[in-house]
């Protein structure tokens, strides 16, 4: 097994455990590469990648761009705020226009769930989903699990709690799929208003009390409170949210064991996580960011190796 079972990375839902392990093993090699004095390999010299961001992003976009450049791919960037999308062009038209300039791979973030799946059906390029609405964010889940594997040796058998806004979070959904495929147990914790109705159907338990959840888990993944996605109020005040679902040093010190704290960023300091926790040794937030580049290099490399080479 040294090839992915898919031609696109649209979501964790569509890939197998063997795929994930292959991505991790490949990422190990790339992590070594990006820690060299010269952090670049020439593998993808003849590949052109378009980063299409129909929604704002700093971290993911930088991480993808860096990963592409470290693999020596040619990169073009596109953001919806400064494009013809504003003039009414459809998604397929936009992408086909870009592809006619001989682009091999598309990394796309889009506000609509399923945009990646839709695109993969209609255009002739390898698609990587960099977040589609509240649906999936596969590379984030991969790098989260990779960071757990790095910190704790393995993902299988670990207890992971995802805390916060599960309803609007693509990170949560992708993480649940990835963790379960790798053999971890998952609980979610957050205000009832922010827990999706049918989440238990995924085999996930709901825990309403943060302290109990933390006592159960090995890893706590603290999600960001996504104010921009909340058109109505899901909890009375931020202060109340922090009281019930924010982690702080006192809470962690009261536990019998040391747990690993993760956060996909950007952090709302003092809301879901206090500064003293975010900057402590227990938090692997910055490791996650570094691993993100290695994981994205692995995904791009493995997908690129499946693109047919043309002799022309």
């Amino acid at each position: 097994m040294s090839e992915l079972s898919v031609n696109h990375l649209l979501g964790i839902k569509y890939i197998t455990e063997a795929d994930i392990q292959l991505i991790f093993e490949t990422a190990d090699h790339f992590k070594e590469v990006i820690n060299r004095p010269i952090k670049k390999v020439p593998s993808l010299r003849d590949i052109t990648i378009a980063n299409l961001f129909f929604e704002n992003s700093t971290r993911t976009r930088l991480s993808f761009e860096l990963a592409e450049k470290r693999l020596s791919a040619d990169v073009i960037n596109f953001s919806a705020s400064s494009s013809s999308v504003k003039k009414g062009e459809t998604l397929i038209d936009t992408v086909n226009n870009i592809l006619s300039m001989k682009v091999d791979m598309v990394v796309m973030r889009h506000p609509n769930p399923g945009a990646g799946v839709f695109l993969a059906k209609h255009v002739n390029a390898s698609i990587i989903n960099a977040g589609d609405g509240a649906h999936e964010h596969p590379t984030q889940a991969l790098l989260d699990c990779y960071s757990i594997r790095e910190k704790l040796g393995d993902v299988a058998g670990k207890n992971v709690v995802i805390v916060g806004d599960i309803l609007h979070s693509r990170v949560a959904l992708s993480n649940i799929f990835a963790l379960q495929k790798l053999g971890a147990k998952v609980k979610v914790c957050g205000p009832k208003t922010l827990i999706p109705k049918y989440i238990e159907k995924l085999g996930v338990e709901i825990e309403g009390n943060l302290r109990k959840a933390l006592e159960w888990c090995d890893v706590a993944n603290m999600l960001r409170v996504q104010n921009e996605r909340m058109e109505i109020s899901y909890f009375p005040t931020t202060r109340e949210y922090t009281q019930q679902f924010g982690v702080n040093k006192a809470l962690l010190d009261a536990l019998k064991k040391e747990i690993v704290v993760m956060h996909p960023g950007p952090i709302n300091r003092g809301v879901e996580i206090t500064s003293d926790v975010a900057d402590s040794k227990q938090a692997i937030i910055l490791d996650q960011v570094q691993n993100g580049v290695a994981i994205r290099m692995a995904v791009i490399y493995l997908l690129a190796s499946k693109i047919q080479h043309h002799e022309d």
Binding site: H29, V33, I38, L71, A304
Partner: protein
């Protein structure tokens, strides 16, 4: 006419070097390295992944135990991401571990691989090693040098045995630690 197991034999193979001959060749190569590199104070050995690593480890331990040279630096270099046949071969390329714990800046580097065939791996290795600094010079040591099969102008500085093999023939180097015996075979498909 033939016993049944004959048809199960995959292909014909011929012994090019047996265990004793491999042993003699290794000693000769080690001595030739000492001739040119003296005490190895400014020289590093680089085994090319995956198959060059066994040869490199053998030579290192031979230099250290039989020829009393202290601390011969050894690294492993994986060339997968530097290959020129990415997306061109049917088989997916599998990466191996690169382990070089030193900077090769201004060092004499000896690349070590088991078989030199088209020269493309060594071409990739020449690019890959640049990520670890600018070596003073690079030499190439191979156990088997397949003549008349080069695609690139690359020749070994040290060779165990020169072999004439045609295209559909394969040279396989076996090592005791991995394959159970020290031997070199010529395999005909």
């Amino acid at each position: 006419m033939y016993p049944e197991y004959i048809s199960e034999l995959p292909m014909s193979q011929k012994v090019l070097l047996n265990a004793t001959e491999v042993h003699i060749a290794l000693h000769r190569l080690a001595c030739q390295l000492i001739e040119n590199h003296d005490s190895f104070h400014n020289t590093v050995l680089i085994g090319i992944q995956p198959r060059g690593v066994y040869l490199a480890e053998r030579l290192k331990s031979m230099l250290e135990t039989d020829y009393k040279i202290k601390n011969v630096p050894l690294g492993y270099l994986d060339i997968t991401f530097y290959r020129d046949d990415f997306r061109r071969s049917d088989k997916p390329l599998e990466a191996n571990k690169t382990k070089i714990n030193f900077i090769v800046e201004d060092k004499k580097v000896v690349f070590i691989d088991d078989v030199l065939f088209t020269g493309r791996s060594i071409r990739s290795a020449l690019t890959a090693i640049q990520s670890f600094g600018r070596p003073l010079e690079i030499e190439l040591l191979t156990l088997i040098d397949r003549r008349f099969s080069r695609h690139l102008p690359i020749q070994p500085d040290y060779r165990g045995r020169q072999v004439d093999a045609i295209n559909n023939e394969k040279v396989k180097v076996c090592w005791k630690e991995n394959d159970g015996e020290d031997a070199v075979y010529l395999i005909k498909n």
